[in-house]
């Protein structure tokens, strides 16, 4: 990849992640990195528990609502 394209591509990836639900991104990273150190069965339980916690967030409700209303979600990190 050329140097100019590199910055552009990195910027694009960073931008995509920044658009996503911030708590979800944080939990997803946690599930991947902590889960990598666990046996699969424990990792799956960890993921399930994080999923359940996320169900209590405003962002998850907004994300689902936005999807069903076919619009961009407005995440608040709550």
């Amino acid at each position: 990849m050329a140097k100019a394209a590199l910055t552009e591509r990195a910027d694009a990836i960073a931008g995509r992640i920044a658009e996503r639900g911030p708590i979800a991104v944080q939990y997803a990273k946690e599930a991947v990195s902590r889960g990598a150190e666990m046996p699969l069965e424990q990792g799956l339980r960890y993921e399930t528990d994080l999923t359940m916690i996320l169900q209590t967030t405003e962002d998850r409700a907004e994300g689902v609502r936005a999807f069903l209303e076919k619009r961009q979600p407005k995440f608040k990190g709550k």
């Binding site: 639900g21 979800a24 990273k29 599930a31 991947v32 699969l40 993921e47 994300g63 689902v64 995440f75």
Partner: protein
């Protein structure tokens, strides 16, 4: 095809096909489909005639676009949702099966769709397939095992990129990075999957079962323990090889 959300067809030679059958909604996995898969996977487990199972999606556009979001938020409480999830752990059940599982993937394989494919042992894709975990774009995370299974199929950096951006990858990328084991033109997808399934089902049953066990269980062990497990499996397969099938 207009029957239930899951079709099941036992074919000759120990092969069975499972079709996700809600093509109007890109085979979105709803509660009814999950319940039927739950029953069906128990039947597969208990049926000595079925040795290899191939999963596919009905219709032209998708293997499965993931969980049916229109049903989200219908559980009475978080505690209830967690209890139901742990008592009916469909993905854990699929991962525990001794049968060899093949996913024949075309079109979209998103969210729980790609997660189902990742619970399989082998993935064959047509060249139009796209694989993604878009959950973070809806404010949640993959919850059919994707955060755990994807990094076990592809390099960790790619797993992070897919899960944290929510953006899908195409079939050639999935093939190059090891998520799928073969790409074929769309019109040959099911014939290739059937041929692979038949070839596996034609091997001695005990050897196939023990080999899968050694690989799946060995992945959780140190190399030394995995090698010890393998020798145990070799001994067992030699014992069973002398028995009538």
């Amino acid at each position: 095809m207009s029957e239930g959300p899951v079709l099941y067809e036992k074919r000759d030679g120990g092969v069975a096909w499972v079709t996700l059958n809600r093509p109007d909604v890109l085979n979105a996995i709803n509660m009814r489909m999950r319940d039927e898969l739950w029953e069906l996977m128990h039947a597969v487990r208990d049926d000595p005639d079925v040795r290899v199972v191939v999963f596919k999606g009905a219709g032209d556009r998708a293997f499965s676009a993931g969980a049916d979001i229109s049903e989200f938020g219908t559980a009475p409480s978080i505690a209830e949702a967690r209890r139901a999830r742990r008592e009916r752990d469909l993905w854990g059940l699929i991962l525990s099966l001794d049968e060899v599982l093949i996913a024949a993937v075309h079109g979209y394989a998103l969210g729980a769709g790609v997660e189902l494919a990742m619970c399989c042992d082998i993935r064959i894709a047509s060249d139009d397939a796209r694989f993604g975990l878009p959950e973070v774009s809806l404010g949640y995370i993959p919850s059919a095992g994707g955060t755990q299974t994807l990094p076990r199929h592809v390099p960790p950096g790619l797993a992070m990129q897919m899960i944290l951006t929510g953006d899908p990858i195409d079939a050639p990328t999935a093939y190059a990075r090891g998520l799928v084991q073969r790409i074929v033109p769309r019109e040959r997808l099911y014939a290739e999957a059937e041929a692979m399934a038949k070839a596996i089902a034609a091997r001695p049953a005990a050897a196939t079962r023990l080999a899968k066990r050694a690989i799946v269980d060995g992945a959780e062990l140190s190399l030394a323990s995995g090698l010890a497990l393998e020798s145990t499996m070799v001994r067992r397969s030699l014992e069973t090889a002398s028995l009538p099938r």
